[in-house]
């Protein structure tokens, strides 16, 4: 474990230099602990794969003192009882937004149904929210589906696109450019600035994908457009 300076208003609490579940659980447990029992001067935290960015106000607490407090908090961390929520996310595989599905199946030497079965059969963990508002980096992609990113990014990927980039899976929160490969689309809105909590997922949540056909996708999309909520978290 290392506590690293990140300027005069932030510290990076680095628990490992690897991506693994156990490290990420500790990162999120530390963020939850700081939310439940706040430390004076901490303004916000950003959980990522293997470290927690802790922002602070130096007029209230100095980094040297804060580092000691964080080290103590880490030593008494309750990783087992950190709450996480579970989501089921409907996906229409293929179609215009899933433009890479067939090529991915060809690259892997399996048929399209097998790609869908593998992708929707796994449980994913939200390792972090970052890059863009509400963008979810998911761990847990079955190894056979690991695929390098494109050499030339595409300029316009629609929101809700279901992506694969290297070992990671993702759900794109906003429309924009991306070099990931895309195999489908969900009508669930990962980011909605009008919601009280604008990002649907939090780091530490778990996610499963549920295949739906095109007609069902369109029905769900219409419900979302009418302002309905189609994905609710399940608490453990």
């Amino acid at each position: 474990m290392r506590i690293l300076p990140a300027g005069d208003q932030a510290l990076t609490v680095e628990l490992s230099d690897q991506v693994d579940d156990a490290t990420n659980r500790r990162v999120i447990a530390l963020a939850e602990s700081l939310a439940a029992r706040p430390v004076d001067g901490i303004t916000e935290t950003v959980p990522t794969y293997r470290s927690l960015l802790v922002c602070y106000d130096p007029a209230i607490v100095r980094a040297s003192a804060l580092a000691d407090t964080l080290a103590e908090r880490l030593a008494s961390l309750d990783v087992e009882h950190t709450p996480s929520r579970h989501w089921t996310v409907p996906v229409f595989y293929g179609g215009p937004a899933g433009m890479d599905l067939e090529e991915l199946a060809r690259m892997k030497g399996i048929d399209v149904d097998e790609v869908i079965r593998l992708h929707s059969g796994a449980e994913y963990r939200v390792y972090m929210i970052g890059f863009a508002p509400g963008f979810a980096y998911l761990g847990g992609l079955p190894e056979i589906l690991h695929t390098p990113r494109l050499t030339t990014p595409r300029q316009h990927i629609v929101a809700g696109s279901i992506g694969i980039g290297g070992k990671q899976a993702s759900i794109n929160s906003l429309a924009g450019p991306s070099g990931w490969r895309f195999i489908g689309r969900t009508p669930v809105q990962l980011f909605d600035p009008q919601r009280q909590e604008p990002a649907l997922f939090r780091a530490g949540d778990t996610v499963r994908f549920e295949p739906v056909n095109e007609a069902e996708f369109e029905r769900l999309e219409a419900r979302v457009a009418a302002g309905e909520t189609i994905a609710e978290p399940v608490l453990p």
Binding site: L4, P5, A6, G7, D8, Q9, A10, T12, E14, D17, Q18, V19, A31, T43, E44, T45, V46, P47, T48, Y49, R50, S51, L52, L53, C55, P58, A59, R62, A63, S64, M128, I129, G130, F131, A132, P133, G134, F135, Y137, S173, L174, F191, P193, Q194, E197, P198, A199, R202, A203
Partner: protein, 316 residues
């Protein structure tokens, strides 16, 4: 109700307040002004509370009209300001009457300018702030820059005298101070020497998200990919090109490039205000020294904001 009319748009004109806090974990950086002190002066000069919204522009201000008498102030750098044909000073508030046009020209020696209007710009707050986040297309007016023809509501304000600074603003000189880390150990001793001894030119590739620097290629001997982590304000990330990128108000909240250092909070606005093509140098300081500088600077700013002087209304 008083309205602000955009007659001619300047460059990258956006609605900004002090920024959107507490949203980093949702992937949303604070946004807010690129030069918070200049923004705070503009607001104080027109009698606005610091949390209200004003306009930020890059280089060129644009022209504006109002429906009711309004105090205005322009800050950020030296710039030609006219109310109809009358030339008025920056860093000072003035009355703008209905029927008159405020024209703010091109700034000299600075990049980011602020135009405050008494009452503040009253767009609906989103996630606790009126700041435009252009990259995420949220906040401000539909998450975008302003265009000719736009009209924005202004809040109500009480009558008050016009104000000016008691002392001119002095931005510090000398190198831009940095705190090494979080990935300072990705760079060897020779690279650190080069980083601290070389001139870097502020590139014209810059926006509210980031500023690129041209100079010697900075190599990370441990590679230019890290496991993505949080990217604080002012962090200097070094991608495979070896060209440093300073992350600013609308930065992404996480990133996968090693960050050699983070610019001291007191010097980040100075870098933001350095014109493209000008050179800078870096100097390393400790985290504790940077904290001391920030705390002292805040006290100085507070004292200056409380010590604005009424403008003599008698014309010579």
């Amino acid at each position: 109700m008083n309205k602000l009319h955009i007659v001619k748009a300047g460059m990258m004109v956006s609605v900004q307040d002090p920024g959107r806090r507490g949203m980093l974990h949702s992937g949303i950086s604070a946004s807010g002004p690129m030069d918070p002190a200049a923004f705070a002066f503009a607001q104080a000069l027109v009698g606005n509370a610091p949390a209200l919204a004003a306009l930020e522009f890059a280089h060129l201000g644009g022209s504006y009209r109002v429906d009711a008498p309004t105090r205005i102030a322009v800050t950020g750098g030296q710039v030609d300001i006219r109310i109809d044909s009358r030339q008025v000073a920056a860093w000072e508030s003035h009355w703008l009457q209905p029927g008159e046009t405020l024209a703010v020209g091109a700034m000299v020696g600075a990049v980011w300018g602020y135009i405050a209007f008494s009452g503040g710009i009253d767009v609906p707050p989103l996630l606790g702030s009126r700041s435009t986040h252009l990259r995420s297309r949220i906040g401000g007016l539909d998450g975008r820059t302003l265009q000719a023809g736009d009209a924005l509501s202004l809040g109500s304000s009480t009558d008050a005298p016009c104000l000016r600074l008691a002392l001119p603003i002095h931005r510090g000189r000398g190198p831009i101070r940095v705190v090494p880390g979080p990935q300072d150990d990705y760079f060897d001793g020779a690279t650190w020497d080069m980083f601290l001894r070389s001139d870097f030119r502020v590139s014209s590739k810059r926006d509210r998200m980031a500023t690129m620097l041209d100079g010697p290629v900075i190599r990370a001997f441990r590679g230019h990919d890290i496991v993505s982590d949080g990217t604080p304000l002012g962090s200097i990330q070094v991608p495979g090109s070896g060209q440093p990128i300073v992350l600013t108000a609308e930065r992404q909240t996480t990133g996968g490039y090693p960050k050699i250092a983070t610019i001291a909070s007191v010097d980040l606005p100075r870098l933001a205000q350095t014109p493209s093509g000008a050179s800078i140098r870096f100097a390393r300081i400790s985290q504790a020294a940077a904290e001391d500088l920030l705390v002292a600077e805040r006290l100085r700013l507070k004292a200056s904001l409380e010590n604005l002087q009424p403008v003599d209304t008698v014309t010579p």
